[in-house]
Symmetry: C2
Subunit: 467 residues, 2 copies
């Protein structure tokens, strides 16, 4: 007899934690650190706060050898906006729960990351996690939590309200996990260093289990312009989205509904789309038949004259900050940065920024040093599956730009969007959506042309010096 | 003010359908076909039935050009075990619902695939799907379904009980989707052809939207030995699993619990593990403290003397069938097949089968033709991310085996397990778990040694003929 079951999303990601990136003790430590640091950066951004993030890693049991798989304690503290007391158990011990489901750029997107780190810790050590937070500088909420994996809900082991004499606001997450620091250390340090490059307003400190302190100081005192929530853009919108917008519409007439529900749709556009669908502007939008909704969506697809999306839900790195960050890291002899105008894919606004650096501290090599960023997160794995690698290795013929076979060449790509088309839940590679591939190609070719001019000048100068 | 939300798993996979493999109209057509065909093969296997599968694709709207993105109708019919009438809406219109969550090899594993295909169809065409099934040859249940994506539950548009004069049993899924057959056709045909190779007892017919019929006849009249449900193996079991086994244990004493809950744990093993944990064999397993459970898990990790897993939950292809299939496809001059003994990773039994073929119809090339299979499913995407590619390109030095730079060489790898460590929800690449990597390396080196002997004989014979 066949046994049918429904499983919860936490059960799904527990059984399939490889798919969420928690595949080995080394990789799981990397994922835990990055998920919590990205939550802290989002938390500061939401409150327009200059981020102060402290990451502490300590080895729980003394083991005979330093290295290998052991139980570690990981503690991440930030000065961000905090999590409301009644929301803490759900935010950290429930999968698919979060505040980043809107239409605005953020590092988080799935409602999974923080909970996955705690889940991994729980199933490898059997210990509860501690989450402490204050949103108002008055009340501090302190929870000890475990996750009921079968039901996808929190199990509150203890709760206390603490006094807050110093008016602290922020979030502290403290938990235990089986990890392998020796193996993942290089990637962890690279993650901090690259995060600091594209978040120059953040101050990050990492104290590792060997007692070493790594400090990445703030180099910019100004908070970047935060992304603003926007309405969906009509291009690429599907049946499900339209059906929901109709169901929650306050406007009654079809034309008014279109103008109110979408960005960049004015009266004229609304009338043209309605006419293209063979409908009337003053039809009651809630009384549209199934066929009429289908006709409306068809018209959306064929219209072709929608204005490009509003870039205010985005918050790119900025050409100036990207250049400063690359210069401090690589001290290149040449650098060129390009920041493209906003474009879109599937109804989501996208800004692509790119840079090429040459010489200085860059190690000459036959393969290009590629630094990838998505919504200001460094991507350090799955390089070959990423659209940036595809562009750098297939769309740019470097020999055309006078780049020798072995060259001190570094390429930086940054993609910012209300929805990054990640290929995996582990957020490591970006899918080759045609619009994004095109923007990257244009940006990198512009940088490469400038590189060619520089290399020509060097060539000429060296020729002159020989004579 | 920060807005917190819980989203359902269908909402999660709707927003992130790239992650489930439904990224473009061409890829979504491929995914829909494979998910339904894999469901049909599983359905036949569950009933020890020789599979008859009919796949029909037709273009819904006549378009001015044949090709490009259009609305298609996809219908898949099988003669398998069917789905019980009361379970049909949940099976096909609920995400994370299925019958393949047990401890036994099957193609399906997530409880997602069929529903994702229907979900993709629904959001691109706004049409309901039809599912027809009979489990007993008497009653036929016919549903028209849509998915409530926000709530992850079925919306039954209509239901009928139909007469069954011919005693038909099986399942029919019929739905509409926006697809691009022209682009995905080569991959679809390759999928059918490779599926037929490793499922020689299946009869598959594909009628495409151009009216062409592709038939893959049954070449073996015997149903393969089906996988049998087994208990979990103690190696690699984590806190969560142990905690649940304890909660549902009928045995009272700790030693009896261990023997009853795990495979390959007899009285002697149970006593040794209990002693290693510093516990007593007759302790009440339900009254174990948190620390005692942690000590028990530690003992599981350190014990090191558990017998290897029971292979009866597996159903490999079989060396004989693999050879027959490869011969019919490639007519090679040389072939060697290796079927490894069962091993395990993370508590799951694994059987690795591999083959090397040379000459015949194989196209000489500088890159190896790699054919990958997991639980008898062909994997056609993400080759470079797969453990088989890693072994073939990094662990085998082909020049050591007299293989020339340009060679007519084909490599086949098959991995069968109660849990395939897929890297993605789209089931295309397998993670490089050390045990699996090792098994593949050993199997392929054995095939390669035989290939070397063959190539040496050819070399000698050609040398003799020259003289
Ligand atoms: N340090 C923090 N400061 C403020 N809010 C936080 C912090 N950490 C977590 N949260 C809140 O908890 C929610 C859940 O976090 P979680 O990491 O699980 O998901 P997410 O960040 O929304 O998405 P993702 O899975 O992509 O990371 C967040 O949406 C946020 O509202
Ligand atoms: N053709 C079929 N014959 C018999 N049962 C079927 C068929 N198609 C679907 N089912 C049932 O519906 C369930 C859900 O199918 P679905 O494809 O969504 O998930 P799955 O096959 O369990 O896992 P996966 O997501 O890995 O495919 C299956 O577990 C199976 O019980
Ligand atoms: Mg997060
Ligand atoms: Mg399935």
């Amino acid at each position: 007899p066949v046994k049918f079951e429904q499983i919860s999303p936490s059960e799904f990601f527990y059984r399939n934690r490889d798919i969420a990136g928690f595949s080995s003790p080394a990789r799981s430590l990397y994922m835990s650190i990055r998920e919590l640091v990205e939550n802290s950066l989002d938390g500061a951004e939401a409150g327009r706060i200059l981020p102060e993030i402290l990451v502490e890693l300590s080895q729980e049991k003394a083991s005979d050898e330093e290295g290998g798989v052991n139980v570690f304690r990981l503690r991440v503290e930030d000065n961000g906006i905090g999590v409301p007391g009644d929301k803490i158990p759900l935010a950290f011990a429930t999968v698919l729960y979060g505040s980043k489901y809107g239409y605005r750029q953020s590092r988080g997107t799935f409602g999974l990351g923080g909970t996955m780190a705690l889940l991994y810790g729980q199933i490898t050590t059997n210990k509860p996690a501690t989450v402490i937070s204050s949103t108002d500088g008055k009340t501090i909420h302190r929870y000890e939590l475990m996750i009921d994996v079968v039901e996808n809900k929190p199990r509150i082991i203890s709760y206390q309200e603490l006094k807050n004499p110093r008016g602290w606001r922020g979030t502290i997450v403290n938990f235990y996990l089986e990890a392998d620091y020796t193996t993942s250390r290089p990637k962890i340090l690279e993650y901090f260093r690259n995060t600091a490059i594209v978040n120059p307003h953040a101050s990050i400190t990492f104290v590792d289990s060997r007692g070493r302190l790594y400090h990445y100081p703030r180099v910019v005192e100004k908070v970047p312009e935060p992304p603003r929530e926007a309405k969906p853009h009509p291009v690429g919108v599907d049946v499900e989205t339209i059906t929901r917008l109709i169901a929650s519409a306050s406007a009654r007439s079809l034309a008014a509904f279109l103008q109110a529900s979408f960005q960049k749709v004015g009266r004229k556009t609304a009338l043209e789309v309605v006419e293209m669908a063979g409908l009337k502007p003053d039809m009651n939008v809630r009384k549209l038949t199934h066929e009429q909704v289908t006709a409306l969506i068809d018209a959306f697809k064929r219209y072709g004259k929608f204005r490009p999306p509003d870039p205010s839900p985005l918050s790119p790195i900025g050409a100036e900050f990207l250049e400063t960050g690359i210069r401090s890291l690589l001290k290149p002899d040449f650098i060129h940065v390009v920041s493209r105008e906003p474009s879109s894919y599937g109804g989501h606004p996208v800004v692509v920024e790119a840079a090429i650096a040459y010489g200085g501290l860059i190690e000459p090599s036959e393969t290009i040093h590629l630094y990838r960023f998505a919504n200001k997160i460094p991507l350090l794995y799955d390089e070959r599956a990423d659209v940036s690698w595809k562009v750098v290795s297939e769309k740019i013929d470097w020999s055309n730009y006078k780049v020798p076979k072995i060259a001190p060449l570094a390429v930086f790509t940054s993609i910012c969007s209300t929805k990054i088309p990640y290929k995996t839940v582990g957020k490591e590679a970006i899918a080759d959506r045609p619009e994004i591939e095109r923007e990257l190609t244009i940006a990198l070719r512009e940088c490469a042309r400038n590189l060619k001019a520089y290399l020509s000048r060097i060539e000429k100068r060296e020729a002159r010096e020989k004579r």
